[in-house]
């Protein structure tokens, strides 16, 4: 599948879904005007790609968000649950959750999102002063 590449806008994150490499990235701030129209196509593409993936494949998601609103949080959770399902089906799934080391909120969110994910290697990655 072709790479999905979207530049960051004022309210939506940079997206780089490199399906050929199995590396997905979300970076920046996320409070788009219309969460469904922003994340809907991404989730659809991801679901389609995951369902056609060979059993032993590896997937890595790098989340480098500095802020997201509650509607984006739901979309992120749906994305993680898709990866959890893929992990349950035998894929090797890794999620790197990057946050600024002095940002309590994003650290806590990382902890929230990682709980209950059993088939995903979830790494909380503190980044020193950005």
């Amino acid at each position: 599948m072709q790479t999905i590449s979207i530049s960051a806008s004022e309210r939506a994150p940079e997206v780089e879904f490199n399906f050929a490499e199995g590396v997905l990235k979300l970076k920046g701030e996320s409070y788009p005007e219309d969460v469904a129209s922003f994340y809907g196509p991404l989730l659809t593409a991801l679901d389609k790609w995951l369902s056609g993936l060979e059993a032993e494949a590896s997937v890595r998601l790098d989340i480098e968000l500095v802020y997201f609103n509650s509607s984006s949080a739901k979309a992120l959770m749906n994305l993680l649950l898709m990866l959890e399902k893929a992990g349950g089906a035998g894929k090797k799934v890794e999620v790197n959750w990057y946050f600024n080391s002095d940002d309590d909120t994003m650290q806590e969110f990382g902890e929230d999102f990682s709980e209950d994910l059993e088939h995903v290697q979830f790494n909380l990655c503190a980044v020193e002063g950005a």
Partner: protein
């Protein structure tokens, strides 16, 4: 204009400045540093939010506090946009939907606060009140657990995600949220929500 101004020791005695100065003073007495009243759009949300972040950065506000105030601000304004019962819709070459409400950010006793207010239908008031009473009854850990539960809930069950936005506000707040309703007609009430950060 249309009214003669009397000059008294260099001071114009018009009513216009007096009216708006007293309005400004009422806001200042409440500690409000920033306010908006009227029709809100996502564009206004972005512009006000940006100014808010810049203002807090200029004052060297702690980054964690700035992030929390911003987060509460966004959720509060999006609640107005989605749920205010006072709204106009139309087509001006593109579909437009504007919702009316009030937004204020201020400082009181060393803490920031965000207040939002809008008209709600009486029919929706009970459900909103129940949700807020429930959130208010929870401690920090309870709020966190409730947030996680809502995060995993099927989106079909929820109406445009109201609850999770309210929980997010309570989660970022340093004190329990404060809210109030006042009946303004047979079918509507004025709803007010204040969160300290």
């Amino acid at each position: 204009m249309g009214r003669m101004l009397l000059k008294d020791g260099g001071r114009y005695m018009g009513k216009l400045a007096e009216d708006y100065l007293s309005f400004k003073k009422v806001l200042e007495q409440k500690g409000i540093i920033f306010s908006f009243s009227g029709y809100v759009s996502e564009g206004i949300l972005f512009a006000l939010g940006d100014a808010l972040k810049q203002k807090m950065a200029l004052e060297d506000t702690d980054m964690n506090t700035t992030r929390k105030v911003f987060s509460v601000f966004v959720e509060q304004v999006q609640n107005i946009i989605r749920y205010s019962a006072e709204r106009v819709t139309g087509d001006i070459g593109k579909p437009v939907e504007l919702s009316s409400g009030m937004i204020a950010v201020g400082q009181e006793a060393g803490k920031f606060f965000v207040v939002c207010a809008n008209i709600v239908k009486l029919a929706d008031m009970e459900r909103l009140k129940e949700r807020l009473d429930h959130i208010k009854s929870l401690d920090k850990e309870g709020i966190k657990a409730f947030y996680k539960e809502k995060l995993r809930e099927d989106p079909e069950v929820e109406s445009k995600g109201a609850s999770i936005g309210l929980i997010e506000i309570a989660r970022r707040a340093s004190d329990p949220i404060d809210f109030d309703f006042m009946s303004v007609s047979d079918s509507t009430a004025f709803f007010c929500l204040k969160a300290f950060i």
